[in-house]
Amino acid sequence: MKHIPAVHAEGLVKSFGDFRAVDGVDLHVDQGEIYGVLGPNGAGKTTMLKMLATLLPIDGGRAEIFGVDVRRDPHRTRQLLGVTGQYASVDENLTANENLWLFGRLQGVSSRTSRATAAQLLEQFGLQEAANKPISQFSGGMRRRLDLAASLITRPPLIFLDEPTTGLDPRTRGQMWDTIRELVAGGCTVLLTTQYLDEADQLADRIAVIDRGRKVAEGTPDELKASVGNSTLRLRLTDGADQAVAAEVVRRLLGEDPVLSPESGRMNVALATADRAADVLISLREAGIGITSVSVDAPTLDEVFLALTGHDTGDSSDPSAAADKRQLEVAR
């Protein structure tokens, strides 16, 4: 039996005036997967999700949700989707219980079923004690969870989550991850956006990296990290003047250039595996280069970006630089 993809989009475009917030993105999400869209502020993640969720008109390209054309049949599309936006979209004037009940009723769930589902969801999300409190008394984490619960009341087969854990503390974040995993175990498909590499890494089966409205890479977390190196060795040289020599040592050893910041005498080296760090350190000592501090870290989103786009997340110079970089398009 041929099954349909949960999301299939080709050449999505959204312009605000002259500015292309989403500039020809293809997206393919299979049923039952968690698909992560990773990108810095302003990359176009929210805009893309909103187009897929019928909240913004699609300016170019086409999109299908479970085979339903989003542009032609928005009403059907909406029945297949639960959307949890980047900013809380629950009613401040109502209690948690009333919110869930209302969203159920608005989607044709009977009053009784709606009440039962609301109670069940509030329990599942650890909100039953706050069920009858006004939302204005909720913490950010509680609001976020209620927001997600509100998207689940009709058990839609596809869920969009726009930055589900931004602003959450580490424990609440972990809980949110568990909840998302449970959803998928229950048969849901999840499309989520995030600014955090580790979140995409923890959750997603596949990741698309978005930058300035374009998809610059796509693959499994392993494939993406392999392209950047799994870890980063951060060094500070005793004598900044040694940098050129040190860079040469690294290049000879690993076949790749380290990232230098001349002012501070700092040097970052991307490593395929963390144990290569020892090799680098030994080679540097053999070359007589002094080191004041050393650490081995996971690559940050900045480094992934630097590697994938040739510019860092904050910088907005020459976009054409993005074209010439490591491509990691995974054949499907």
Partner: protein
Amino acid sequence: MTLQMTQPAPAATPRRLTPGDVAARTTSHNSLRETLSQTMSMAWRATKKMRRNPEQFFDVTIQPLLFTAMFAYLLGGGLSGSVEAYLPLVIPGILAQTALTACMATGVQLREDMEKGVFDRFKSLPMARIAPLAGPMIADLLRYAIASTLTFVTGIAMGYRPGGGVAGVAMAIVLTMIAGWSLAWVFTWVGTLARSAQSVQGISMMIMFPLTFMSNALVPVETLPGWLAAFVKVNPVSYIVTATRDLANDGQITGHVGWALVACAAVIAIFAPLSVRSYKRHL
């Protein structure tokens, strides 16, 4: 921190949707029954909101008291010889005026509401696009009822004796509610159109003042110059005021009542589709 690969445990072969499942799960549009039920749910939401923000009732409680007393004492002597003689003329007028002010608030509140995050969710739901607009307007019927009852109570306290009796007054109140609901579509349209709640307020004022003052609400048409009388005669508010006078003062369902209802229907027929269209464009 180290990266570790913890992929979610593979689910117990979750069921996959086929095109047939998708067709079975979804409908191509909301039925009339669904639309009504969604509208009533949105009305329920609006009443909850009213109950939690009682200051929303200020305009419909203070204004009838204030305006009735103010206009009656201010204009009564000059226009009708005495306050008592002026009351049968001015009470129906103030009724219409208060209803208009109350429905102006409908537009402003809709605009404020639409800026809240929860409207993003409403838009993402497979809900009829008229429901978020019509729902609060149904809840606002309560406001029109309060405003018109209070206007009559104030008038009666000042010596007004409506000739239509209880039945006439009750029918006048119902007509005011119908008129309020219809005219509210004008302000709802402005609400979906304007950029901010403040500009809704401003634009609505510019609509409301000519509609109320350039009508027969406060003065008899005969006293007006020709060009003004011409506008006053086509103003839907004039139809409503005349009809209300017939009901409250004479207890008679006259042709004016019929024309008032036609005027209301015309306002809805024009502004309801405009509002829905402009609301959709907001997406």
